[in-house]
Each structure stands twice: as C-alpha cells, then as structure tokens.
C-alpha cells in the first residue's frame, strides 16, 4: 500500500491537471508560439522515442555483453574492476553524464544532436543493464550449463542458447527498468539533444524530447504552456507504463519454443 500510494497520487494529479489538455492535436501538432491556442508536442513524443531507440542501440549490446561477462568470468580481477566501475557509474549524477556527452560529442561535432542525447542516455542505461543482466545470468542454475556442455555444446553457444535464453525474462525486465529510468531524464539532454520547437531534421541536429519540453514549458510564465506541460508529463508517464506493460505481456508464458 505504502508503495502504491505515491504512484496513484502522482498519476491521479497528472490526470486531473493534464487530461483536459489532451486531444488529437497534442499528439499530431507542433508547439504553437505563445498566445496562440492549441498546438501539441508531436515532435517531443517522436523525439523521446528516437532518443530511447538510439540509447538502446548503443547501450543494450554493450550492457548485456558486459553483464554476461561478469556473470560467467566475473571471478577474475578484471571482473571486479568492471563491477566496481558499473556501481560507481550508477551513482554518477545524470547532469555530469550530460557534460561528458557534451565534451565528447557535441563539442567535436559543433552541434547539439540526437546522437549526443542518445549517447548520454546510453551511458546512464549501461550500468543498470549490466548489473541486472549479471544478476539474472547468475540465477541460471549451473546444472543447465553443465547439461549443455555435457552434450558437447561449445561454451559460447551454451551461453547464448541456454543461459541467455533461460535468463531472458529477467534481462528484459532489467532493460525495461533502464528504459523507464532514462525516458524521464531531463538534465543530460539539456546540452546534448538540446530541444527543438520543430520537427527534427535527422539525427545530426538538435532534437526535442518530452522531459525537456515539459521542463521548458513548466518554467515559462504562460498559463497555456503550464497546461501543456502537465499533459506532456501525463503522456510521458503513460508511455513508460505502457512499455512496461507490453513487455510483461510479451514475456509471459513463453515456454513453447518457436518451431
């Protein structure tokens, strides 16, 4: 109950404040200049999805591989070093990661870009994905590994087809947690993806995102924009909720293999 209450309260408040501003335009229109009624956050919604996609493309392969490495070979010295780094990285404030991405990508490219934003989010996802993958892979009983090795299956095939397959549900849950975490990140996007009031032109240019848009609107002095910000926050929350739900449904009861 104590866990559920804040969630219900936040969600209820968002619905109360933001639901009235939701309409078709909100999902299909660009933001309107101050004073003009209507307009929407279509570019920010697409932008957030793009950024998450980029972050996943960059962060997931590295994170999952690192997690598998830690679980299977983590008893070595290199393993504890990586584990320590991942734990430190989890605690690094996201604004610092934003500065890192700014220095590494925005400065050399002389432009804010979706790539830079995606990279910053990927760095935040990395330790979460790595550590949950490690935990999940560790949970796979060693008897299954041995069963596979005993059949004359090479170690790498055992890892991919037996260990990862058995741990799949848990790894996907970890990935979802990581996505939910970065979907709402604002700070690292401020000077990487920057934001944009128009449709995004390719991944090399600045791109808007829901959290950044909500931030911009919320600190503005305009009543109209405040309402839009509430609606944006609501959409963001629903988006995260739906992703989690979809993955839950997809990974449930997958016993039968695809023959």
């Amino acid at each position: 109950m104590a866990v559920l209450l804040p969630l219900v309260l936040i969600f209820g408040y968002l619905v109360m404040k933001g639901f009235s501003s939701l309409n078709l335009d909100f999902f299909t229109q660009l933001p309107k200049p101050v004073g003009e009624p209507g307009g929407g956050m279509a570019n920010a919604i697409v932008g957030t999805l793009t950024l998450i996609g980029l972050a996943c493309a960059m962060g997931l392969p590295v994170g999952v591989l690192a997690g598998v490495f830690l679980a299977e070979h983590g008893h070595r010295r290199l393993g504890s070093t990586i584990r320590f780094c991942a734990d430190v990285l989890t605690g690094v404030p996201s604004i610092v990661i934003g500065i890192y991405a700014y220095t590494l990508i925005v400065l050399p490219m002389h432009s804010f870009s979706a790539y830079a934003g995606g990279f910053a989010l990927a760095v935040i996802m990395l330790p979460i994905v790595t550590r949950t993958t490690e935990e999940m892979v560790r949970l796979v009983p060693s008897s299954l590994r041995e069963a596979s090795l005993g059949l004359g299956v090479p170690a790498w095939r055992t890892t991919v087809w037996v260990v990862l397959r058995t741990a799949r549900g848990g790894i996907i849950t970890g990935i979802m947690l990581a996505i939910a975490r970065v979907a709402g990140e604002t700070a690292p996007l401020l000077f990487t993806a920057f934001g944009n009031q128009f449709w995004n032109h390719g991944l090399m240019g600045p791109i808007s995102s829901l959290p950044a848009q909500v931030y911009t609107y919320a600190i503005s002095p305009f009543e109209d924009w405040h309402r839009q910000a509430w609606a944006g926050a609501l959409v963001l929350l629903v988006l995260i909720f739906l992703t989690s739900l979809a993955v839950r449904l997809l990974t449930r009861g997958r016993m039968r293999s695809a023959l």
Binding site: A147, G152, A155, R157, W161, T166
Partner: protein, 253 residues
C-alpha cells in the same frame, strides 16, 4: 573384455585440494562399470574427469591420461567439446532445459551444435531416442509440452534420451537415481540394462545394492584413491582389501 576407456595415473585438484590421487583403471567396452565409495571420496570428480567436465569448475584441474579407444582425451590440441560429444553425461538431478519443449530437449545437443537437419529427420531422432530411453509411450502425445512439466523420473529419462540423441560412445551417469523414487529408480536401472547392449556405461552410485544390480565391474574409491577394482561379483563376495569389505558390509560410509 576389450577396453573402452583407460585411465592412467589420473590426479585431480580443486584449487589446492588434491581430490584424486593416482587413479588407474580400465573401463571395459559394452559393460556397466560402477564407481562406489563414501561421500567425498572423489567418485563424482573421477567421473567428471572422464569427459573433461571437471575443468569446467573454476580453479579445478587434472593431470594424467584418459584414453578413449587408445587416444588420450587430455592430449594437447584435443578440444574438450569434441570429447563431450563422444562421452555423454547424465547428472545427479534431472536437468532438462526449462525453456524448451520435450521435443526440443531431445534434439538440443544437435541443434545447439549447429547441426542442420530437416524437421522430418529430427522427428525421427526424437522418436528413436525417446524409445531407447523407454519414455516414448509416456510422452508421445505431448511432445511440445515443457521439458519440466513431466515427473522427476520422466525428466531423468528425458535427459538420458537427450544424451543418446548425440550418439555418444560412452555414457557417464553421476548418481542418476539419487533424486528419484524407487519406482522411477527401477525404470532407470532397467534402462541401463538395455543400454549396455549398445553403449559403454560408467555409473557413480551411493547405493551399493544398485551397484550390485546394474554393474559388471565395480571400482571402490576411498579418500581419493582407488582401493579395489574388479568384477562386481568378486568385489561384493570376496573383496581383497579390508576397507572394501568394511564399506560393503556397512561398517562405515
């Protein structure tokens, strides 16, 4: 009898702990060889050295020779993966792959090794292996149910079928009945009798009656050394060593 596996001066360690000390023995072809001895005497370590599964455990290593048909499986340049395909293993606890169906479990070894076979061929292999493992009649109507949806005894026979599908020369069984009830145990023992027509079997067992029932040869291991090795009947009736006699008469262990 012709020798299938010849163990020569085998030593094994877990880290600094010396678990097997200079074991040498001949495993005859087409027979059942039982390894008996009290807990912690190195039975499981010995059997796991026979298909190079011992070294899978971090920190474990072994020295000495194990000749399969005269060729050393520990020789330089021998891939342990190839060894394990020829010397299959059945474990103490039934361990079918929980994410796979019964059908997929049986052909898991072939599939995971990247062998490409048509659906029709695979179905043939599944039926043949399950019949060999005396499980076909019990599961033929739900081959696509999960491998862990059947009883423990059936799961263990499924694991045997899975091992048979890879067509090994030798089957190692590490206390295959210790997690099973007496009825399931009887079925697995009957199966071992059937299988020795075609395969060489090495079985570790805690249960001396079982060793007496299923095996042709018996090795008695104590504190990491091979105390006595010979035909089962002789070991159980006229053991040469005092320790063997004490153990099989139940004075310790």
């Amino acid at each position: 009898m012709e020798t299938k596996l010849e163990v020569i001066d085998l030593n094994a360690w877990f880290g600094a702990h010396h678990t097997l000390k200079g074991i040498s023995l001949h495993v005859p072809n087409g027979a059942v060889t039982a390894i008996i001895g009290p807990s912690g005497c190195g039975k499981s370590t010995l059997i796991r050295c026979l298909n190079r599964m011992h070294e899978v455990v971090p920190g474990a290593h072994a020295t000495g020779k194990v000749l399969l048909d005269g060729a050393d499986i520990y020789a330089v340049g021998i891939d342990p993966v190839q060894v394990r395909a020829r010397i299959g293993m059945v474990f103490q606890r039934p361990n079918p792959f929980p994410t796979m169906s019964i059908f997929d479990n049986v052909v898991a070894g072939l599939r995971l090794n990247g062998t490409r076979k048509s659906r029709h061929d695979l179905a043939g292999i599944v039926e043949h292996s399950l019949r060999q493992a005396a499980l076909w009649d019990e599961v033929k109507d739900f081959l696509y149910a999960s491998g862990v949806s059947i009883s423990g005894g059936q799961q263990q026979r499924l694991c045997i079928a899975r091992t048979l599908a890879v067509e090994p020369d030798v089957i190692l069984m590490d206390e295959p009945c210790s997690a099973l009830d007496p009825i399931a145990t009887a079925k697995v023992e009957a199966l071992i009798h059937e299988l020795k027509q075609q395969y060489t079997i090495v079985i570790v067992t805690h249960n001396m009656q079982q060793a007496g029932r299923v095996s042709d040869m018996t090795a008695f291991l104590y504190l990491g050394t091979l105390v006595e090795f010979g035909p089962t009947e002789r070991i159980f009736t006229t053991p040469e060593k005092k320790e063997t006699e004490d153990y099989i008469t139940g004075r310790f262990g």
